[in-house]
């Protein structure tokens, strides 16, 4: 217990990094996921094949391998990356962690959204078309809002998975919550105490995320609840 109290500052900085990496890669992944989901639904092969290849790779390989590839793999191609002006980015473990996590969660989120888009009832689309909507307007007003609502429960899972996946970034030298824990364990050998403590922190974060999603879902489903009796 004294160990945990004595290093609260380090745990706090680890927690900040964990939350930061989660939020940033989540935002980037989300921005990426919407266009990829739409491309996946496109009819022209030049559109859906690249999107399919992307989700196929990132969902089909372990995140740990992707992290190693981005970090140590990039290290081997320093000269080429330097020539392309990209080395300043790839030399930072923080950038590699964000890039890999964003691409990874982007692929999963794209598939979740695609499911959402597929789930929009045909009748609603036909009704919209009957009103004269087409193309972008149809997607913006009818398909996407409905798809988001349908995808939300699955997406909340993805957010939780991502939060927990960030524990892997300590392997490329980042001092996130897990990284801090491992350094402290190395000094104190209090494996159970420290891992149980950070486990509890992850648990609290996870339930906070789930609570936020429950609030959002509650708001978005107002039309499905019975009106309160006057």
């Amino acid at each position: 217990m004294a160990v945990i109290v004595g290093h609260l500052g380090q745990f706090a900085s680890g927690l900040v990094l964990t939350v930061e990496v989660t939020l940033l890669s989540l935002a980037a992944g989300l921005l990426l996921a919407v266009p990829v989901a739409l491309l996946r639904e496109a009819r022209h092969p030049a559109l859906w094949i690249p999107a399919y290849g992307y989700t196929f790779y990132f969902r089909g390989t372990p995140l740990l391998v992707q992290l190693f590839l981005c970090y140590y793999g990039a290290g081997q191609f320093r000269d080429q990356l330097e020539a392309a002006g990209l080395w300043v980015w790839f030399r930072e473990p923080y950038f590699c962690a964000l890039l890999t996590l964003a691409l990874n969660t982007g692929a999963y989120t794209a598939e979740i959204f695609r499911g959402g888009i597929r789930g929009v009832p045909r009748g609603e689309i036909e009704a919209a078309r009957a009103c004269g909507m087409s193309g972008i307007l149809l997607y913006r007003r009818i398909v996407l809002p409905k798809a988001f609502r349908l995808a939300l429960p699955a997406y909340s899972n993805e957010v939780v998975f991502l939060l927990q996946s960030t524990s892997l970034v300590s392997i490329i030298t980042l001092m996130d919550l897990t990284g801090v824990a491992r350094v402290l364990i190395a000094r104190t050998f209090m494996v159970y105490e420290i891992f149980i403590f950070i486990g509890a922190l992850y648990l609290a974060l996870t339930y906070f995320v789930l609570w936020v999603f429950r609030c959002v879902e509650w708001r978005l489903s107002a039309h499905m609840r019975q009106a309160p009796e006057a």
Partner: protein
Amino acid sequence: MRGILTFACAAALGLAALTFGPGEAGAQQMKKVKIGTEGAYAPFNFIDANKQLQGFDVEIAKALCAAAKYDCEFVVQDWDGIIPGLVAKKYDAIIASMSITEERKKVVDFTERYYKTPARFVRKSGSKIEITDAGLKGKKVGVQRATIHENFLNDKYAKIVEVRSYATQDEANLDMVSGRIDLLLADSVVLSEGFLKTAQGKGFEFVGPDFVDQKWFGDGAGIAVRKGDKDLREALNKAIRQIRTDGTYKKINDKYFTFDAYGK
């Protein structure tokens, strides 16, 4: 029903423990001892192209087992879990270049040392980084996680340098080559044999003094056993003395080093 089943299992396990308890089996044949090592710390312990464990630690371990008449089996375990693994009885002793330090002594018992080498920094040749507070300012230093070198850096230089901790020394070396970090800090022999003398380590050099402060670097590398495992510790101590005197140690030493790794 569930309760009865649990009870039956517990009873069966208890019976098995009675029948196959330690000591009884050892009386007839050589005592089995499991040795934990890392396998990623050349030239002390590493896995060669044929997936065999090799290195100074491994050969010393085999010699010690022969001297103590133990039937030894190696278990490979990642470094930062190597002490928890010992405590959890995944193996009985750690022979993996583990330095004898006060912090570790709180958790495990150590034999006498079987070698002692100083720690040093490595820089890129011509990078002109000096090992002074001013020279180290803002530099990124790579070090292996959960090592005495990491503790030393964090205690002495955490405010000056940026410490990057790696799971294995190999990964730290990789990042040194790719230029992500400016310096490496590790055992001098590991750096010279496992890095500087390899093709990878061309263009890098030692810089700064030998670090041997007892507070961080302890009393050299010893063999860790579980707390209170006195029999094993004493047997290994005897074996260390025996291979030092009968020339086995020197034979292994000379295969790897041009100096006596046992130190003074």
